[in-house]
Symmetry: C2
Subunit: 214 residues, 2 copies
């Protein structure tokens, strides 16, 4: 039996969606975030890092979203619907699988942490905290993120999907792109159009209903 | 012809090392960091994100360390020396390829940025900056990093290499682990032993000499 260890409002929605694309039988083990928004300690019983998603399939326990997606594709996508077959698109598939969490997400996470810092410091040092975190954003995060957004916007201007037709690379990219869209208020029409395109897929909608029912 | 676009003191040492393991003919295009330590703008002529490493092979231009390593292994490791063949170790190979930059490096980069912040603020707010960055480290980075270090130390206590015998997954993991070792002063003997083990490889030493000669 396949079990998805699913943390609310997290990267593990991608796996729920992939399981729906594959029409697999699976069960969901659901975890709520703590009041601090951190993952609950029970997740450490499934994987030493205590993170989600983790997928168990029989004896195997698999972590890292891209690794789970690639595993599911290889094991269960018997008609090769969700991974391209030609060399160029296979390279793109691999690239975006790594890029999503290796390059884009770290900047988005750091930006979020910096945004939250001023709320968590004593009242008197809030102005200084705002100044310091604004400095990190302006000096380190924003110039890099600007390059990424332009890169993605121009890629999606000429591609409906990241690796040819719809593939699991699009699922992997969905999470950081949804974060980007929610922070840029529709300023990037091609990124926005991509998010709309994938959110209309029947499997996406089924995954969303299942998550809402948890 | 294969060209490695190589930035000094960066992730691209891994690719130099992999090229040496494969005994390939290649050329190196070398880039120095700016005084700010950022990558120089010329790198944007090779890839829109302006990052290193980038590998060009004929018409192809490939970014992301893990993607380059997997490309080189598939194209040029004709005897399959650097990727395991059995299912369990293949899964490990894939896991560590993604984990290195997807999970471990983001925390190390954020830790480095937080450590550098107090040096870049006006003198009068240095004490507050230290307090704030110490708070981010203690509240967000350190608890997560502690889990990672324990996870890696206990994995390496029972494994000489990350995916069976030596593979490109070890090259991918070398960069964050070297950063960890340099920040933890030998407190983690199995991580330290791994770093020593890989740094004794003839191809590693050749890559090191080539880099020093640039």
């Amino acid at each position: 039996m396949i079990t998805l260890h699913h943390l609310e409002q997290s990267r593990s929605f991608r796996i729920l969606w992939a399981l729906e694309e594959l029409n697999l039988n699976y069960q969901i083990q659901f975890y709520r975030r703590l009041a601090t928004l951190a993952a609950p300690p029970e997740l450490k019983l499934v994987h030493p890092l205590g993170k989600a998603p983790v997928l168990t399939d029989g004896e195997q326990s698999i972590a890292e979203s891209a690794v789970i997606l690639e595993y599911l594709q290889e094991q269960y996508d018997t008609q090769q619907q969700f991974k391209p077959q030609d060399h160029a698109n296979k390279q793109q598939y691999r690239y975006w699988m790594h890029y999503a969490e290796g390059s884009l997400m770290p900047l988005l996470v750091m930006q979020l942490v910096m945004t939250n810092v001023p709320q968590h410091v004593p009242f008197l040092i809030k102005p200084v905290a705002k100044k310091i975190t604004a400095g990190v954003k302006a000096g380190f995060i924003q110039p890099r993120l600007k390059d990424h957004v332009q890169f993605l916007e121009s890629y999606l201007a000429t591609h409906d999907y990241f690796a040819g037709t719809f593939s699991f690379a699009d699922i992997q990219m969905s999470f950081p792109l949804q974060a980007l869209v929610s922070r840029t208020q529709g300023k990037y029409p091609h990124i926005q159009a991509f998010i709309q395109r994938i959110a209309e897929r029947p499997a996406y909608l089924r995954a969303q209903s299942k998550e809402q029912a948890l």
